[in-house]
């Protein structure tokens, strides 16, 4: 029996709950502590745990680097796109009142929209930084 059986089984058991907790922190960021940044870092922590326990090859099969390269700017673009509908109705950029019939509903939608953009950018940046450090050979 290999010595890391406990680590592998424990990581496999815990990883889905970490991802679920990250989603909880993200969607409940308006009702309790949390938001896009914390959720993004928790998702990155889950992927880093998977990479540490199962090896870089398995992690790069699960979360390929090409996805990350596209997700980092995608998050910033999602953020920017939350401000564009306001321009079409004569308001200022990033005015969320244009995102819904009622101003308050529009603001709530806008907050969730940009937090999703922040989540995608932060999670993929942290994972990409870890891949870059861990994949570099020793001189």
């Amino acid at each position: 029996m290999r010595l890391d059986v406990l680590l592998r089984i424990g990581a496999k058991l815990v990883l889905p709950f970490i991802l679920l907790f990250a989603l909880y922190v993200h969607f409940h960021g308006e009702y309790g502590p949390g938001g896009g940044f914390q959720a993004g870092v928790i998702i990155a922590a889950a992927v880093i745990l998977y990479a540490i326990v199962f090896g870089m090859a398995a992690a790069e099969r699960a979360v390929p680097v090409r996805w990350l390269e596209r997700m980092i700017p995608a998050g910033v673009l999602i953020y920017l796109s939350a401000g564009v509908p306001a321009l079409f109705t004569g308001r200022r950029f990033l005015d969320y009142s244009a995102l819904g019939a009622d101003a308050a509903v529009g603001h709530a939608r806008g907050i969730l929209w940009i937090e999703t953009g922040v989540l995608i950018t932060v999670a993929s940046t942290m994972i990409a930084i870890f891949y870059a450090f861990a994949g570099r050979g020793r001189s």
């Binding site: 502590p33 940044f37 570099r136 001189s139």
Partner: protein, 121 residues
């Protein structure tokens, strides 16, 4: 009791200044680049403390609105420091990437050794 009260208030700010000075000392006195970056992050966290201490109100609670509370801590420094924390870790990652490249180019990450090596004719 008044002097104890003032002691308590000054103690918080004294420890914040001590952490700041300790971080600054590590950055300027130690030559190892990783140690310098750790000292920089110590300095940054002490600045967060300096910003967040005045935001607390006695008898208040966290700024999450609820019908049971009327006094909340000031949310504006919290927002500012949230941004600062994430920007701090981004610059730490970039600094450490530069340290890795410096190590590959010079074989060492000690500042004094690099300067001595570059001064040789």
């Amino acid at each position: 009791m008044k002097s104890f009260q003032t002691f308590v208030e000054t103690y918080n700010y004294l420890v914040t200044v001590f952490l700041m000075v300790a971080g600054l000392y590590v950055v300027i006195a130690r030559g190892n680049m990783i140690k310098k970056l750790i000292g920089l992050s110590l300095f940054q966290t002490s600045v967060y403390l300096l910003y967040l201490a005045p935001a607390k109100i006695d008898g208040g609670t966290a700024p999450i609105l609820d019908a049971a509370y009327t006094v909340y801590s000031n949310p504006l420094p919290h927002v500012l420091i949230l941004t600062a924390i994430v920007v701090g870790v981004a610059t730490l990652a970039l600094g450490l990437a530069l340290v890795v490249r410096v190590h590959e180019a010079y074989g060492t990450i000690d500042e004094d050794e690099i300067f001595a090596e570059s001064e040789e004719p």
